[in-house]
Structures are given as structure tokens and as C-alpha cells.
Symmetry: C2
Amino acid sequence: PTRDVSPLDPAVAARLKRDAAGLVAAVVQQHDTGEVLMLGWMDDEALRRTLTEGRVTYWSRSRREYWRKGDTSGHVQHVRSVALDCDGDALLVRVDQVGAACHTGDRTCFDAGDLAAAVANPDGSSGDP
Amino acid sequence: PTRDVSPLDPAVAARLKRDAAGLVAAVVQQHDTGEVLMLGWMDDEALRRTLTEGRVTYWSRSRREYWRKGDTSGHVQHVRSVALDCDGDALLVRVDQVGAACHTGDRTCFDAGDLAAAVANPDGSSGDP
């Protein structure tokens, strides 16, 4: 790092509990409907850009590069708020999502992924799958 | 692993993209209000238990043990649905949360963590921090 690059606020950086790759998880939620849109990953620089640009930037683990959502697809995420969780390893980013959040064209990355699960009965006990 | 332990459905296991520690991230959301409550971690066995017991079980990275939410605190999470994301590295678990989700006593683990962020202007352009 050089002095030319504006760093993430040191007070924020000190609160992050990064994984072995230097990343924290970012849960992204549509600010008004509450839909959970996707999960991405951020290092310090991706978080700095997200906090200062009004747009969400991730670190792509597969491509090993920064990725500002919507630059290619047009499916921009406008930042509404960012919160860090109690132990510093996850962010909740509330956004206004333009178009689909998922690269498949689905509104969210979880739309096609329902798993069969036993659900709680009305009395709170567990039920059958 | 022995044959005595019922394994995770192989069709589900085949879709998981685990990290180096064998884990996927689990975003936990209150099913009716849409609140994002917390982020936890699951290995195959934690997911199997979550899908079959009607209660959410995590793998604790710090304690290196399974942890069924609410067994100690009473703050039980009753499973309503579980979905896997498009690339298999994140789960969305919708629950009915009893009491506080956060060990601090806050309703969610993100309640105390707001970071200063530039937000989008109404016209969609980025604003000042």
C-alpha cells in the first residue's frame, strides 16, 4: 500500500475480523422490501469503496479482482446503509437494487435454491420433513 | 464418519461450495418482518441437523463445536425455510426467532454496528458521506 491510496477509516478497520483471505461476508438486502438479495465478500478496500461511492463493490474470490455491481450488467446497487455485526465478520448492506441481483436473471440469488426442510409446527415443536 | 450417522442428502451435498474450512455462510432472517438477524456458519452436518430438526444448528468456528441456537439462551430459532444460493456458498435460513438473536441482547447482530456511508441521492447518483 502506498500513501496515495486513501485507506479505510482506521476505526472501522480495527473492528473487522477478517478470514484467512482477508475478507468479511457482506449480506445484501433490498432496503424497502427486506428481500435478501445475495451474499458477497469484501476486503478493506472493497468496503472503503462501498462506504464512499454510494455503490457496492465486492472482492471476487474466483476472479481475484474488485467488482462494482452493475458496471457490466447495469444491475446497480445503490447503498442505503451499511452495518457491521457484533463480532466484526459480517456486514449488512441495505441497497436499492436496480433489476435482478442474481447473474441468472433472478431477483435474488436464493430464488431457485429452496431445500426440503422440516419446519416448526405452530406449537413450536419440530415437524416432519 | 460411520454408517450410523445419517448423512446430509447427497443431492444437497453435491451443490455446496464449501470454503477451505468446509463451511458455507448462513444468513438468518426473521420470516415475517424480513429482519436480517445474524450470519452463522454451517458444515454438512450442521446443515443436515438444521434441515431435519426444525431448529438451527451452526458450527462455531471459535469453539470448534456444533451449536444449536437457543439450547443455552432459550433464544431458539424455529426453521421456516432454507434456500441455497446460485453458486452454493451461502444459505438463507428463514426462521421464527424467539427473543434476541444476538448474544449482546440486541434483536439482531447488526443493530449496534452502523457505519458512516455515502448514500445514493434520489436521482440515483452517489452523494457525499
